[in-house]
């Protein structure tokens, strides 16, 4: 599975999102996923091969349609939110429920 994390420049917040995503994947128990960072300029092209694309609400509007599942994250450093939305996107049951 390929996951793309997208921010404006593909440097700071996108990388933070990748780190938090990798942590969440470990918690969920997915170990065959590769997570890559993209900037908004190249995200459209890179998104063509990604199963899940994570980004912020504003950038999601700009990104438009992508082939995989588009997940918008409100708070890039809220690991709970990222894990919850990843489980939802992958069709995995939420923890404890």
């Amino acid at each position: 599975m390929k996951i793309l994390t997208v921010c404006g420049m593909g440097l700071g917040t996108g990388l933070l999102l990748r780190m938090n995503t990798e942590e969440a994947l470990k918690k969920i128990g997915v170990d065959d996923a590769s997570v890559e960072v993209a900037d908004i300029s190249t995200a459209k092209g890179m998104g063509a091969t990604a199963d899940i694309v994570l980004t912020s609400t504003e950038l999601a509007e700009q990104l438009g349609q992508v082939k995989g599942t588009l997940v918008t994250v409100q708070n890039f450093f809220d690991k709970g939110e990222i894990e919850r939305k990843l489980r939802e996107a992958m069709g995995r049951p939420q923890e404890g429920g």
């Binding site: 921010c7 700071g12 960072v37 908004i40 912020s56 504003e58 950038l59 700009q62 890039f76 450093f77």
Partner: protein, 477 residues
């Protein structure tokens, strides 16, 4: 013995003096320390090396694309024209200073970890590209002051590690208000501009309504796309100056720049510049993708109660309208300051003309808007953005003289902290001798004292139970 000595000499002289290989070695050690699987270790190390090579490729394009603009601005204004772009100047400097930059980064990481472990400033600075840019600025400025390589690495590393914990601390009283007390700090070297914006908002914006209580067009959102923003700004700048140049230059002068049409030539140069910056960004992204997670992993082990200091767009969801207001106000501040620089040039002051770079104004202006809004609503966001724009324009102009040869590169650092820190350190270091070392020690001590004072006076210990505190404010439209 001779063989061992030979191997040691080979490592020091041939490998450690190659910035790309040195960086690869640092990443290799980091990945091994984190006990990553072999495939990841090899891949990660190679990617860090490749990232550095990519950086150089992009820098060549950027230099080539800026050179004709420099000629035209010089002819039209009789002054140096500079478009501040952090990526561009870092890429250009990497060729000559790459090795010291990599060492300064490494020492800076260690100093950051030590300060976070042993002082109340418990911040781990995780915005890798800004660490790289700051390390580059320090290596350049200290080498201009004639320090030896070892002295640059030690002094630069300590100065870097200090500013990596002090700036997040100074921004934290405002960040608490913006994020509603979440355990996160601003880790971006535009922070002086944000602090000024927050203070300006406090002074002038009392009672002003929040920017988020109004409907605001999203017209400027496309500027978050750095490739587009850079291209748009450079096309405008190149068009203005090529048309202007065509009026005042002789046919020979035009022919020296291009055999074809000047305006079309300017257009393609602008696009080449944007493409070069995009390539450098790819290089930086490739390097950091390996280094930052390793630093974060090691940091969380050594300083378990650390607060991560993160890149400025983490503030954007808390006040998206303030971002756009701050950007427009910052850009206006940049244009007004450009006018003032042009006027002072007429009066015989030899300051460079700082042309507004779209990327610095968008990201730092936008964040200044968020800070200004937090203390002074709409008025705060507007004045805060404007103050930031003025600061980063004059900051760039005054930074150039301490950058030595690179001060003539037609591009420089665009964000506030690179500028004030560089100007301060450069001017102190240029005294040389004892004054240099005492001066640098005083700077480090004063910054730490200021940071610790702000931290203990204005920032209560984080509440760890507040895992699910307030969500960011949703956009109003």
């Amino acid at each position: 013995m001779d063989i061992i000595g030979g191997i040691a000499r080979f490592i020091v002289e041939e490998i450690l003096s190659q910035p790309a290989l040195l960086l690869g070695l640092i990443v290799l050690v980091g990945l091994l320390a984190l006990r990553k699987p072999a495939g990841e270790v090899i891949g990660g190390t190679l990617k860090a090396i490749l990232g550095f090579v990519i950086l150089g490729v992009g820098a060549n394009a950027v230099v080539a694309a800026l050179q004709p603009l420099g000629v035209m601005v010089l002819e039209v204004f009789g002054a140096q024209g500079v478009v501040p772009t952090n990526e561009a100047i870092t890429g250009i400097a990497a060729g000559e200073f790459g090795t010291t930059v990599a060492w300064v980064m490494l020492v800076g990481f260690l100093v950051n970890l030590a300060l976070a472990r042993f002082t109340p400033l418990k911040y781990i600075f995780l915005t890798g590209h800004h660490i790289l840019f700051m390390a580059t600025m320090l290596a350049v400025v200290l080498s201009v002051a004639q320090l030896g390589d070892l002295a640059i690495v030690l002094a630069g590393g300590i100065l870097l590690g200090t500013v990596m914990v002090v700036m997040p601390a100074l921004g934290q009283p405002f960040m608490r208000r913006i994020t509603n007390d979440q355990p996160v700090a601003i880790g971006h070297f535009g922070t002086m501009g944000y602090i000024l914006a927050g203070l300006a908002g406090k002074a002038f914006g009392s009672g002003s309504k929040s920017t988020e209580e109004m409907a605001f067009p999203k017209t400027f959102n496309f500027l978050r796309d750095a490739m587009v923003a850079t291209a748009v700004a450079m096309i405008l700048i190149y068009l203005v100056f090529s048309i202007w140049f065509a009026q005042v230059a002789t046919a020979d002068q035009v022919a020296a720049i291009t055999g074809g049409d000047l305006v079309v030539f300017g257009f393609t140069q602008a696009l080449t510049f944007a493409a070069g910056v995009a390539v450098i960004l790819l290089g930086v992204r490739t390097i950091l993708g390996e280094i930052v997670p390793a630093f974060a992993g090691i940091g969380s082990r050594i300083v378990p109660d650390a607060v991560p200091a993160l890149d400025c767009p983490i503030t954007f969801p808390f006040a998206p309208n303030a971002v756009l207001i701050g950007f427009v106000a910052s850009f206006a501040g940049g244009l007004v300051s450009l006018g003032i620089l042009a006027l002072t040039n007429g009066l015989g002051l030899a300051l460079a003309l700082i042309l507004p770079g779209m990327v610095p104004h968008f990201f730092t202006g936008g964040t200044a808007g968020v800070f200004g809004n937090a203390t002074g609503g709409r008025i705060g966001a507007t004045i805060g953005g404007f103050v930031n724009g003025v600061f980063i324009t004059f900051g760039a102009a005054f930074l150039l003289p301490v950058m030595g040869e690179l001060g003539f590169a037609n591009t420089t650092f665009g964000d506030a902290d690179f500028q004030w820190y560089g100007i301060l350190i450069g001017n102190v270091a240029n005294f040389g001798g004892a004054i240099l070392w005492v001066g640098l020690a005083v700077i480090v001590a004063a910054l730490l004292a200021l940071g610790i004072w702000v931290q203990t006076r204005f920032v209560p210990p984080p509440r760890y139970e507040a895992e699910t505190s307030a969500e960011p404010v949703a956009p109003t439209t």
